[in-house]
């Protein structure tokens, strides 16, 4: 074996034996470095005869190339090994649980969500939202709405009153959102289509009554809307709100001072399972009161009841929420128990729309 062959096999053995990039670098310096064994051989070429050079030149250059390749190959292997080792060392327990993101933690109260649902439905039918103050005058809460002087709802038992003012006027907490209907009729020109969601108050407290609750009323005033339209609006609303294709509805004659004719509306439901299921079964559940706006009310708002007509309805928002989403107890709506809000509340980004469906 020639000297070069011996050298080559020694070098390749050293390359293969290098266990780290630094060891490999030492081999490179010892071979291809300025004073390395291969470099020394190359330098010697200048000192030999042309004949020898012709023979040795390609041999040494070949050696240099092969050593270079061997070093590069080994380096790639070592880098790969080092990277693999580093990756292994950097391994984490990806099962570690993260904190729940704030948007998952937050909730929108069912009353707010249902108001958004109502808004989505009625906006589609051309209604806007009207609002008014919670502290009302006796006139707007009762008198303008055709309540006879001694109607039981004016009783201290039902209505929260403020202390009488110096001039004797006694403000009260509105017992329904109907004063907003009066305010709307007095400030807008027909055609009017509004819904009036808001807080209402009555001196009453048990499992199904709280001293504060939410109501939404609707009002349509124009020159031609009648009970047929009222039935259509409420049927369309109920189907959309309860997200059912068919819903049995029953309109019963009833009495309210501010409407004539007056009706109460029942929807078909099933009570057999302990929970009320809307849209199934043969039972009835009363959900709202409605009627044609009383001529006296239209007149009290400065409109001529022979020219203008329309209808109104009212229902409990909390009750609608309870029916749709199955809350058993009204009082819990106002208790702010985080467990209740978490369970019955809605995710912040679940905004009800008609195009995306009202609820998940």
């Amino acid at each position: 074996m020639s000297d070069l062959e011996t050298l080559e096999s020694e070098i390749l053995a050293a390359v293969a034996a290098a266990a780290s990039e630094s060891a490999l670098e030492e081999v490179r310096i010892a071979t291809l470095g300025k004073k390395g064994s291969v470099s020394e051989r190359l330098k010697m070429l200048g000192k030999v005869s042309p004949e020898e050079r012709r023979e040795l030149g390609p041999a040494i250059n070949g050696l240099k190339a092969r050593v270079g390749e061997a070093l590069a190959a080994r380096k790639a292997v070592l880098q790969e090994e080092a990277l693999t080792a580093r990756m292994e060392a950097e391994r984490v327990d990806i099962s570690l649980p993260l904190r729940r993101p704030p948007a998952e933690e937050g909730r929108v109260h069912p009353v707010s969500q249902v108001i958004d649902e109502l808004t989505a439905i009625f906006a589609d039918m051309g209604f806007s939202i009207a609002e008014g103050p919670d502290i009302e005058t006796d006139h707007l809460n009762f008198t303008a709405l055709n309540f006879p002087e001694d109607h039981p709802a004016r009783d201290m038992h039902d209505t929260f009153f403020m202390h009488p003012r110096a001039d004797g006027e006694r403000m009260l907490l509105r017992t329904h959102t109907s004063p907003v209907q009066v305010r709307t009729m007095m400030s807008q020109k027909p055609p009017i289509r509004v819904i009036t969601p808001g807080r209402t108050y009555r001196c009453d407290s048990d499992q199904t009554h709280t001293p504060m609750f939410h109501q939404v009323e609707g009002l349509v005033i124009d020159k031609g809307s009648h009970i047929g339209h009222l039935k259509w609006v409420l049927e369309e609303f109920c189907k959309a709100f309860f997200e059912v294709d068919e819903l049995k509805m029953r309109f019963r004659p009833s009495f309210f001072p501010f409407t004539e004719p007056s009706m109460e509306v029942d929807i078909g439901c099933d009570r057999s399972g302990g929970e009320v299921r809307v849209g199934e079964g043969d039972d009835w559940l009363e959900i709202l009161g409605c009627g044609m706006v009383h001529p006296n009310v239209i007149r009290n708002c400065g409109l001529d009841p022979d020219e203008y007509q329309g209808f109104a309805w009212g229902m409990g928002i909390d009750r609608l929420a309870m029916l749709k989403y199955g809350m058993p107890d009204l009082r819990a709506f106002f208790d702010a128990d985080v467990r209740w809000i978490e369970h019955y509340g809605f995710r912040p980004l679940d905004l009800p729309t008609l195009f995306g469906g009202l609820s998940r």
Binding site: P102, G106, M125, G126, D134, I135, M162, K231, R252, F255
Partner: protein, 808 residues
Amino acid sequence: MKFTLSWLKDHLETDASLDEIVETLTRIGLEVEEVTSPADRLRPFTIAKVLEARPHPNADRLQVLSVDAGDGAAPLQIVCGAPNARAGLVGVLARPGDYVPGIDVTLSVGKIRDVESFGMMCSERELELSESHDGIMDLGEDAPLGASYAEYAGLDDPVIEIGLTPNRPDCASVSGIARDLAAAGLGIFKENRPASVVGEGACPVAVRLEFGDTPPLCPAFGLRLVRGITNGPSPAWMQKRLVAIGLRPINALVDITNYITFDRGRPLHVFDAAKVAGDLVVRRGREGEELLGLDGKTYRFDDSMCVISDDNGVESIGGIMGGELSGCTEETTDVLIESALWDPVNIARTGRALGISTDARYRFERGVDPQFCLPGLDLATQMVIELCGGTATEVMFTGELPNSERMIDFPVAEVKRLTGLSLTTPEIKGVLTRLGFWVTGSGDTVKVAPPSWRPDVHGKADLVEEVVRIVGLDEVPATPLPNLSSVSGRVLTPGQLRRGQARRALAVRGLKEAVTWSFISRAQAEAFGGGRRDLELANPISPELSDMRPSLVPGLAAAAQRNADRGYPDVALFEVGQIFGDDTPKGQSMVAAGLRRGTAGFNGAERHWSGNAPAVSVFDAKADAEAALAAIGAPVDKLMVFAEAPAWLHPGRSGELRLGPKTVLARFGELHPRVLAALDLEGPMVAFEVYLDAVPTPKSKARAGRSKGALDTSDLMPVRRDFAFVVDEAVTAERLLKAARGAEKTLITGVTLFDVYRGAGIAEGQKSMAIDVTLQPRDRTLTDEDIEAVAASIRAAVEKATGGTLRG
């Protein structure tokens, strides 16, 4: 209003089934609330006879009965505590396995003081027949042993209860209900008009209506004496009907008045003539006058109330309740029967003031048929003579029956206009006529006179209601509401939009939405700057809910504390709702407020492997407030923070965000320890309020479109430089940042504060604040000289504004 099926059929000739009747009642506005057949509950109970009653060996008040159940088997041993249990009594037996409704117990074989008992003899209350618990039922010896009690007692007559709306006094009577059903096509109404009773001689007791100059509270009063009667129990058929609708039979005279009250909606009163001294005077009560009522309670009167008095004083509360002392008993031999009219509003007021609800008040306050005042008296006289014997005098009638006649011009097209229902004139006239309305004319407009028993009908719309409810609302076709436009526009007002935006932005920040009461306690209101008298309820439902809230924070704080008390100390709550500054509409405004308790910060609460959550701080509240303001489109970059806040916040850890020097858009901070202590709250609690209505509405620039304008960027690299300034403690970050930002207007695009340092190298009472300034070149790369020029102006501006110097 309750009645039985057989009772209804006294006034309605019909083949309709119970189901048809019930369905029709609801359809025409007489909503059926319940149909019960007492027989169903009472099915197991049979008639049995007590053969023997011996003292209980171990108890003084108990007896051991031997009872023949009438089934041929051996007598049953039953332990009984009723004082009236005796040998020979025929009563009602419940056996082991039977459910006794009045005590809500299913019987089993019992052992009472060591004596076995195989059932019980029942009282009326135990069978829910009445409230009577004086002893066990005593049916009389002729009751058939072993027979079903319900059958024997005729209790298999279904009882129908309707929820009567206040406008229909005519249907507070069985006959009125029958008339409505007949009008709806369910049979023929039997008029049953009482024949007039010819009396002998004048009524010896005179009646005077004495109201002086004040409005008469009793327009008409009829009185008649029936002499020589024998008052005993009323006949079984009458008692059964009264019991079925929940009334307790008393004696024939009283039962007749109750019966006619329900049968015809005509309340009456009977006085024992022997106990009436002198004439009857109907007048206003006098301050301090009292009466022991038939219910055993004493009532005091004033001059707003109407009473009937004689020489002894007040004998009756007119139209509401009679007096105990002049009432009829089994000993009564001469009876005065009263049929009068009363002012409905005054009846309602008096009944409310005295807290009396009677069947008479119920009818008079709704309005009874004035034309039936005297026929009702005749009917009562007739029944008294029939059941108790005696002879009647003539009627003593005082006052005047009010004329309730009125004529309504009724364009028949109103039916179509208001309901959409197409009916012919004869159909419309037919319905009204069947209901007792007088109708004349055949053109477009007919004349209609409502009957005397319908005080609720005044105008065209009322007549439309009568027609549509009898024809049936089901006949009205649902009609689509015409579209006002093809695509609906925006319907929410800016205020409504803001509430929604704030709500969802806060929920996204992990806060849970609460809805708390609009009223809070006085202590809470006062602690949060409220407590004005005009915002205090005159009649709160509880002292905890007495004042309209001046802030949402007290309600949220109380809610957070409730959660903490339940074991959930780290909660983040918010509410979007109204607060009250005074009792006018302008005093009410909309607020978005939130509260974080414990460690419930934005990044999560409690301990966690990634780092434990710190206690909530003023900056959590500030971040929430700023997020809500940003979400509603407030000009957040123009806001200034002021370290001034209301007394309910920690003075050193709170602030206000203002637009300009005066407009407060938000407040935030840590709740003051004094407030926590006063309201029994445990901190840490931080809270904020954003005043949604205070944020100015962006001027609706008459802009051509919604374009956001072109994006202006530069291709040149931004340059960033850090500066650290040493300033006095009192220098706020806002002051320093504002100075730095304003130092140069074109190149500086951003200044952030990245470090606040106190300690080694910095003198006591001073701090180092380090800022990172971004310079964005516009048209050429910046030279070192350019950058140094900007740096110099920043140093100068900060020094001028804060006195700070560059940290060495």
